[in-house]
Symmetry: C2
């Protein structure tokens, strides 16, 4: 270790190191459960404006670090900024989530490619630079993007959707054009993630939040292949930061995802069996996640037991403590304090 150089616990976890107490961060740690976030958010008209305002977005990113002893900051942004930068009209409806003008199989996909403007997302790079300046020496900075299938389903459905019905119909009717859609999103994602790494992101995360219920014959084609294209595309461009993959709701297919996409760490949702993954994952694969956000909401003894169980599940393996999904707005901030205190306490 070079004298004076601070070793970041999160980065250590990607270098194959195990720790007595794992580094910890929390999905949506910058968000609505924090009163200071709600106050800040009230200062912007739209959610997209907020994400693309480096002053506000960097402040939102840093807020949880002032309260909690976290090992990472994740840039405040949204997985739908890529469709936004492809001129797909995007707005957020309170209580309903994101709405987009739906993309259909009959639309000209080459227009998407032509409309894509990385520079529309440069404010995210500026947010990362600002955060990097304000970050304690031992805290790592994470950038992210939605994985192509997840982003595509939002674009096709016109918003969130329980069953991704229109996307599945399109996929069965014309899988080649769906491949093309995913390729266009993948290329944009590579550029966007490269820009984030160059702006200071030391780790990148791919959110495949909506792969749940995807017909199995498409798993390799629509989930594995695009993720691999992104990790390889980044490598080809000289971007060598570790990548966390989060194939949510994919059951044991997450093992294939871990082995075949070129990611460095696999994030597990709360339905996954940690012990089974610990036994079956490659020994040098870092693992993250698995805590139910509901038990963080509940806190107390239940949370304490779950923290201990998850630490035990992954003992002997490089491990980053996190939830299986984002922290919810109704969670008392004191439960975050309890969580981190118990994660940091050696077993």
């Amino acid at each position: 270790m070079t004298k004076g150089k601070v070793v970041k616990p999160l980065i250590n976890a990607f270098n194959g190191r195990t720790a007595k107490s794992p580094p910890v961060w929390v999905m949506r740690q910058a968000g609505r459960y924090l009163p200071e976030y709600r106050e800040l958010r009230a200062g912007a008209d739209s959610f997209v404006d907020f994400c693309l305002n480096p002053e506000m977005a960097s402040e939102a990113t840093l807020q949880p670090l002032r309260r909690f002893d976290l090992d990472a900051a994740i840039v405040f942004a949204d997985i739908l900024l890529i469709p936004h930068a492809m001129e797909r009209e995007l707005h957020f409806v309170a209580g309903e989530g994101p709405k987009l003008c739906p993309l259909s199989q009959n639309d000209n996909l080459s227009l998407l490619e032509k409309s894509w403007r990385l520079h529309k997302l440069e404010p995210v790079g500026e947010t990362l630079q600002r955060v990097r300046e304000g970050l304690p020496d031992d805290v790592a900075l994470i950038g992210f993007a939605g994985a192509p299938w997840t982003v595509a389903t939002y674009m096709v459905e016109g918003g969130g959707s329980k069953d991704k019905w229109k996307s599945r119909l399109w996929a069965w009717k014309d899988p080649q054009s769906f491949d093309l859609l995913l390729d266009i999103i993948s290329e944009a994602t590579i550029e966007y993630l490269q820009m984030q790494a160059e702006a200071g992101a030391e780790v990148l995360k791919l959110f495949e939040s909506w792969a749940e219920g995807l017909p199995e014959p498409f798993f390799e084609r629509f989930i594995i292949r695009p993720a691999r294209n992104i990790t390889e595309g980044l490598k080809a461009r000289g971007v060598n930061v570790p990548i966390i993959g989060f194939p949510r709701g994919c059951g044991h297919q997450a093992l294939r995802y871990a082995k075949e996409t070129g990611i460095k760490a696999i994030a597990l949702d709360q339905a996954q069996n940690g012990v089974w993954f610990n036994e079956n994952l490659p020994t040098d694969m870092t693992v993250q996640g698995n805590l139910d956000p509901a038990v963080l909401r509940v806190g107390g003894k239940a949370l304490q037991n779950e923290v201990a169980r998850i630490k035990n599940s992954f003992s002997g393996r490089p491990h980053i403590f996190n939830l299986g999904h984002g922290i919810t707005p109704d969670t008392p901030p004191e439960h975050m304090t309890q969580l981190i205190e118990q994660v940091k306490r050696p077993i």
Copy 2:
């Protein structure tokens, strides 16, 4: 084989027999995609009234058999009839699905037990008897119920729910009282399924439709244990019909479900890897399902390929052809004709 006794292909599949072409039925085969169903349904005020009207419900059950060469009929009913027979106010809102008066952790659960009246569901028995009389000799009759966790989440959330948040909070806060809720539902389910078997159901199916995303530490406790209690409870009462379990959205945990609950057949959703299950399931376990309802909606070559793929996945194992979820109202009935024709064609 006794002379004159017709062997039902569906029953053969439970006796460990493999067939050149598997028997076939389809979840929600009696339903809104059929114009004659929509006409019949218009004759009843509420969906609950319709389910509990043996004349209408038996007619709905038999309708698809007049059109298609199916190997099974499934009684027309709903998994929420058990809460209804526990005096939990239930109604169906067009376009929104079922609504119930939400059950909370502070409610007196013994009241549920006291309110339970099997006789309120006797019309379902009468429907089964009527159907049995009208059924071709080679068609098997299936009864069903919701599995306890799925029924409980509807009762707690007050309807369908993406994340089952209130149920998960209750489970973490007070798992013992959630056990009690599941036990009360399980006991009612045993009585209800026994009644269905005595009324003529030759196969029973347990629908665990909402186990997706359940925190893993609860899988044994809230999914496996209640299902095992039901299969054992039925056996203890002398009910010896085969039971199909359908743990939807559970990934590889479905393998544990198959091995540990005492079911005779496992139904797989479309996200499951059929080849993996074929390799890992006990050799005498019958398998059902896996076809994406979206490819049935699409039809044509895509459907043809998928039928062939699924038949191949389960070749050498007792297999019942079915979807991974219910047929959707927008599916043209002719696609059912195509499906069944292609299932029945020897590979």
